[in-house]
Amino acid sequence: MNLVQRAVSNGGKLAPLVISKGLTRGTGLMNPSVFVNDRGNILVNLRHVNYTLYHSENTQKFPSRWGPLSYLHPEKDMNLRTTNYLMKLDNDLVVTNHALIDTSKLDVDPLWEFVGLEDARLVEWENKYYICGVRRDTTTNGTGRMELSEIEIDMDSFTAKEISRLRIPAPGDDNSYCEKNWYPILDKPYHFIKWTAPTELVRTYPDEPARCEQVFHRENLSIPADQRGGSQLIKFGSLYLSVTHEVNLFRNYLNQKDAIYRHRLCVWDDDFNLVGISPEPFSFLDARIEFVAGAAILEKDLLISFGFQDNAAFILKVPNVVLVEMIQEALSYDFN
C-alpha cells in the first residue's frame, strides 16, 4: 500500500502544489520542501525546472529517443535550470501565495549545465529563513556543494529575496566531487545530517569564511539500504524524524540510465542516534521516481512534501494515527 493511500484512508489529505503555466511554461514543478514556522504559517520552497522528466515505467514500451529516463530540456538549450518559488499554504493545504525567490543580487553566469540551487530545504534558524540545497554551476566540471542562502521574506507583499549566499565546503579536505542532500536539523541551527548510516553530523556557520566541521561520525549501524537525505530532521515529542530516500541507479543493456527511488522514515533519539527505520521502503504514488525534500509537524499530524517524477509536487498530510504506526514500525527494526 502506498503512503498516500494509507494516509488518505485514515483521514489524511493530499494536495497538489501548483503555480500557473504563465510562470512555468508547463515544465516541471518538483521536490517541494515544507516548513511550519512558530506562528503556524505553512511555507514551502518549490523547485521549478526548465525540463520535463520522461520516465517509462512498467515494461518500458515507449522510451524517449534517449532512453527510458531522460531530462527533456529545450532542444536548443542543454542547461537544466532551476528556480525556486516560495509558497504559503492555508491549513487546508491550499496555496494562498507564491513568489519567485529573487536571486538576482547574487547570481553570476553559470559555468556548468546544472544551473541554480537544487532540491533546497527550507529552514528558519535564529529568526532567519534559509534555503539549503546543492549548487553545481560554479565550476566547469559540476562540482556540487551545499549552499546556505538566506531569504528575506515579506509576508505582507509576499515577496522573497535572497540576501546572502554561502557555499559550504565539505568537512575535512573538501576534495569530494558532489555534496548534496544534507538534511538540516531544524532545532539545531546550522547543523546537518550529512549521512544517515553511518551517521555523520556536521556543523556549518552562517558567516564568512564558509566552513564546516564534523561533529561526529558513528559507524555502528546496519540498515536495510543506504539512506540519502530527504526531509529536514524534525522534532516530534522526544524523538527526531526524517524521511530519507534510497535509490537504485542502473543501466539497461543499451547502457541507458534508469532509476527507482523509495523512501523510509528514520527515527532518532535526542543524541542523534538512529534508533528506528521503516523495515520496508514505501512509495507515495507508486511512481519509480519520487523525492521527499520536506517534512513538518502540523498540530499532531505529519506533513510530507514530495516530488512525483520531477514533474509534479504534492504535500501529504499523514494523520497522527498513521504517523504513530509508522514510528512504531520503524522502532521495531532490528539493527543487528
Partner: protein, 190 residues
C-alpha cells in the same frame, strides 16, 4: 468539477490503472500542468499497453501535444507520434498529427507522405477517449494540399483545395484554404 487532488486520492489505491492515470493526465492538461500531464499520460500508455489500446494510443498522441505545447522539443513530439502510429497503425489520427508536425517544420515530403498514409485508414470511426484535434478525413487532404504546392504540384494542390471548399468543413479551415488559393492564384474566383 472534480478536483485533481480528489482524482489522485481516489486513484491512490490503484496507481497502475491506465484509465485512472489517463483521467489524471486529462485534468492536469486542463489545468495547464503540462509536465505532470506528460507523466500521467505516459504511465497510462505504459501500464495500458496490453489491455487498453485506445487509451494507450490517445495518451501517446497527447504526450506529443504536451511537448508541442512546451515548444522546442521537436524530437520528443515526433517520437511520441511515431510510437502512437507504431502501436496502432490502422488509425488516421497519428498520421495527421505527424503530417501537420512536418508541415509546421516545412518538411514537405514528409508532410505529404504521412497525409497520404493516413488516408488509408479514414474509414475507422470508433471514437478516442479525448480530443486529439483530428476533425475528420478532410484534415489529411488539407495537409496534402499544402505540402503538394511546396513540392511543385500546384495543380494538384489547387484541386484539393477547391474540392475541400465543397465540403462542410470548419470556418478556420475554410478561410485558410481560401487564403492559400488566393496566394497561389490571386485572380482565382472563390
Amino acid at each position: 468539477m472534480i478536483l485533481i487532488e480528489k482524482l489522485i486520492e481516489d486513484a491512490s489505491h490503484d496507481m497502475l490503472n491506465p484509465v485512472l492515470n489517463f483521467d489524471i493526465a486529462k485534468k492536469d492538461e486542463e489545468l495547464e500542468q503540462i509536465a505532470s500531464a506528460v507523466s500521467f499520460y505516459l504511465r497510462a500508455a505504459e501500464y495500458g499497453h496490453d489491455t487498453h489500446p485506445t487509451i494507450v494510443y490517445t495518451s501517446l498522441l497527447k504526450v506529443a501535444r504536451c511537448f508541442e505545447d512546451q515548444a522546442n522539443r521537436e524530437q520528443s513530439v515526433s517520437n511520441a507520434l511515431l510510437q502512437a502510429i507504431q502501436y496502432m497503425p490502422a488509425r488516421p489520427e497519428g498520421y495527421f498529427l505527424l503530417s501537420r508536425f512536418y508541415e509546421r517544420s516545412q518538411k514537405w515530403q514528409e508532410c505529404y507522405t504521412f497525409a497520404e498514409m493516413g488516408m488509408m485508414y479514414t474509414t475507422r470511426l470508433d471514437q478516442l477517449p479525448a480530443d486529439v484535434e483530428y476533425l475528420g478525413e478532410f484534415v489529411l487532404f488539407f495537409e496534402k494540399g499544402v505540402s503538394a504546392w511546396w513540392l511543385g504540384r500546384k495543380e494538384e494542390s489547387l484541386k484539393i483545395f477547391y474540392d475541400l471548399l465543397k465540403q462542410d468543413i470548419p470556418d478556420h479551415y475554410r478561410s485558410t484554404i481560401k487564403y492559400n488559393i488566393y496566394k497561389i492564384d490571386p485572380n482565382a474566383i472563390i
